[in-house]
């Protein structure tokens, strides 16, 4: 197969290589759980965590309209233990619904850092994956996991409530396996994330010390 073609479309190898270069620091899906045999207490705690998910729905984009539908009687997300949280202090999941403009990204980062470990991020819709229909927009970010550690992506524009619930179930599986939750990883690779964030956010007025 030819290396490149006349209109500059990358080949599969290039894309694979680029994705390896691209690889985000903290992600749950690819992570190998170092302790395969969990202790009993971990098992119990993970069971509790996976069945009580307090969601902070940060309605950034058009996806926010899917959340009420997910919570209503027809789809009833509460039967998984999913319920809304009012403030980041109480929340476990940061649910980012739709495109993120750079202006919003600043607030989202602060909200994420205000949450308490273990904390999970579910990115919602194609705009958070690769920009989606805003691939050439001048003020929406293209790949969320450059700026925040994302646990689960829900593809689609927009994903219907069924797929949203599927994403939650996927996150529950990850939690039970002990993979999910990248708060510590985020804190370890803070300077990498800060570098990416400050590249987008022009005047950076966050406090230096990580003490939210």
């Amino acid at each position: 197969m030819s290396k490149t073609n006349n209109i500059g479309i990358p080949t599969v190898e290039e894309i694979k290589q680029a994705q390896i270069d691209f690889s985000p620091r903290c992600t749950s899906a690819g992570r190998v759980n170092d302790k395969e045999t969990q202790k009993m207490v971990d098992y119990i705690l993970n069971f509790a965590r996976k069945h009580s998910l307090f969601v902070l729905a940060y309605g950034t984009g058009c996806g926010a309209i899917e959340i009420p539908a997910t919570m209503t009687s027809r789809y009833d997300a509460e039967r998984f233990g999913i319920r809304g949280a009012a403030t980041p202090r109480q929340a476990d999941i940061l649910l980012i619904t739709g495109y993120l403009s750079t202006k919003t990204l600043k607030r989202v980062i602060r909200v994420y850092e205000q949450m308490q470990d273990p904390k999970y991020v579910i990115a919602f819709g194609s705009c958070t994956i690769n920009g989606g229909m805003y691939f050439d927009s001048y003020n929406t970010i293209k790949a969320l996991d450059r700026y925040l550690p994302v646990d689960v992506y829900i593809a689609g524009c927009m994903p219907r409530p069924e797929s949203v619930i599927r994403g939650f179930v996927k996150l529950q599986e990850l939690i039970q396996k002990g993979n999910a939750g990248n708060g510590e990883c985020y804190r370890e690779n803070l300077e990498w994330y800060r570098e990416n964030q400050q590249k987008v956010i022009k005047n950076w007025d966050f406090p230096e010390n990580y003490n939210w």
């Binding site: 009012a86 403030t87 109480q90 470990d117």
Partner: protein
């Protein structure tokens, strides 16, 4: 020595009972709400999972001295009030300090927890917390008045200020106070709607408009402790109402563990039946503004309270 062991064991037994029943009732409320809204709803043990998860948060955010004290004060108030309320009568394990305190003390001790929570919420510096606290305190001034009227009526009618005596009266003469002084029960029932803080009186911690009000800055173990305190307080209020009006529980002649079991069963049935009233009223109610809530409490419930006092005076012959 044996006395001491029984006292301490009974105290822990009561605490565990109150915690378990309160949490299960909270889960039950969520389940019933879901069923009424034609949903499946969370499992009934959902609140235990929430509590376990909140306690297992690996980082905590504290706002200083009062932020630390707030959950402790709530636990203190819950435990102290629990110790002074007779859960089962003439049962060795469950009369903890029943005769050592009376209704006035309980009235004031119940405020202790909410005061601590108010102070803790105040120190976080979140404006929503302060607004929620002011709403809660104002609403408390509303519903305390009819409740106190009902209690004063009972005190005057039965010439005692202690719950144990009231229970003893009901168990000795099989007359429940709900029949002896129905207006007092009415006033207390209406004010209990405000005490439970379900709809239509849930503007204190309204998540949509106040970001859950006073506890908006508390997460992790603090939030979990507040949930625990709330559950125990729900149980306390239910037991208090059952003791005052519905004849208490455990008044059976069966000896030993079987009698205790029967008493607990009776207690659960009565508390559950009473608990369903605020729950179902909350399910079908919109939300009152604060001043509307206060004015509601000062109109009909207080009117019933006044009638109750007159009724009590008439009953014990003070009015000729």
């Amino acid at each position: 020595m044996n006395e001491i062991i029984i006292k301490i064991g009974g105290a822990f037994l009561t605490a565990i009972l109150a915690f378990t029943v309160g949490m299960f009732y909270a889960g039950l409320r969520r389940k019933i709400t879901a069923r009424v809204q034609n949903r499946v709803g969370p499992p009934i043990y959902q609140n235990f999972l929430d509590l376990l998860k909140l306690q297992s948060k690996s980082t905590n955010v504290a706002h200083g001295f009062m932020g630390h004290m707030a959950p402790i004060w709530i636990i203190i108030a819950a435990m102290t009030v629990l110790m002074f309320i007779p859960v089962l009568q003439n049962n060795l394990w469950f009369d903890n300090l029943t005769l050592k305190g009376d209704l006035i003390f309980l009235l004031y001790m119940m405020v202790f927890g909410s005061l601590g929570m108010a102070l803790g919420a105040g120190q976080t510096g979140n404006p929503n917390s302060a607004i929620g606290v002011t709403r809660g305190l104002s609403q408390m001034v509303g519903f305390e008045i009819p409740f106190v009227m009902a209690l004063v009526a009972l005190m005057l009618q039965f010439k005692t200020t202690s719950i144990a005596d009231l229970m003893h009266f009901q168990s000795s003469t099989g007359h429940w106070i709900i029949l002896e002084n129905p207006f007092a029960f009415l006033a207390a029932l209406l004010s209990s709607l405000g005490m439970f803080r379900y709809s239509p009186f849930d503007i204190v911690g309204a998540p949509a408009e106040l970001a859950s009000g006073p506890m908006s800055e508390f997460g992790g173990k603090y939030l979990g402790t507040m949930m625990t305190g709330g559950a125990v307080f729900a149980f306390i209020k239910l037991v208090l109402f059952v003791d005052l009006f519905l004849g208490g529980a455990g008044n059976n002649s069966v000896e030993g563990i079987v009698g205790t079991g029967l008493g607990l069963l009776e207690l659960l049935i009565k508390t559950f039946l009473f608990y369903m009233i605020p729950v179902f009223i909350g399910l079908v109610s919109p939300r009152f503004r604060t001043e509307q809530a206060i004015q509601f409490f000062w109109k009909w419930p207080s009117f019933f309270g006044l009638i109750a006092i007159g009724w009590a005076l008439y009953k014990n012959g003070a009015l000729g």
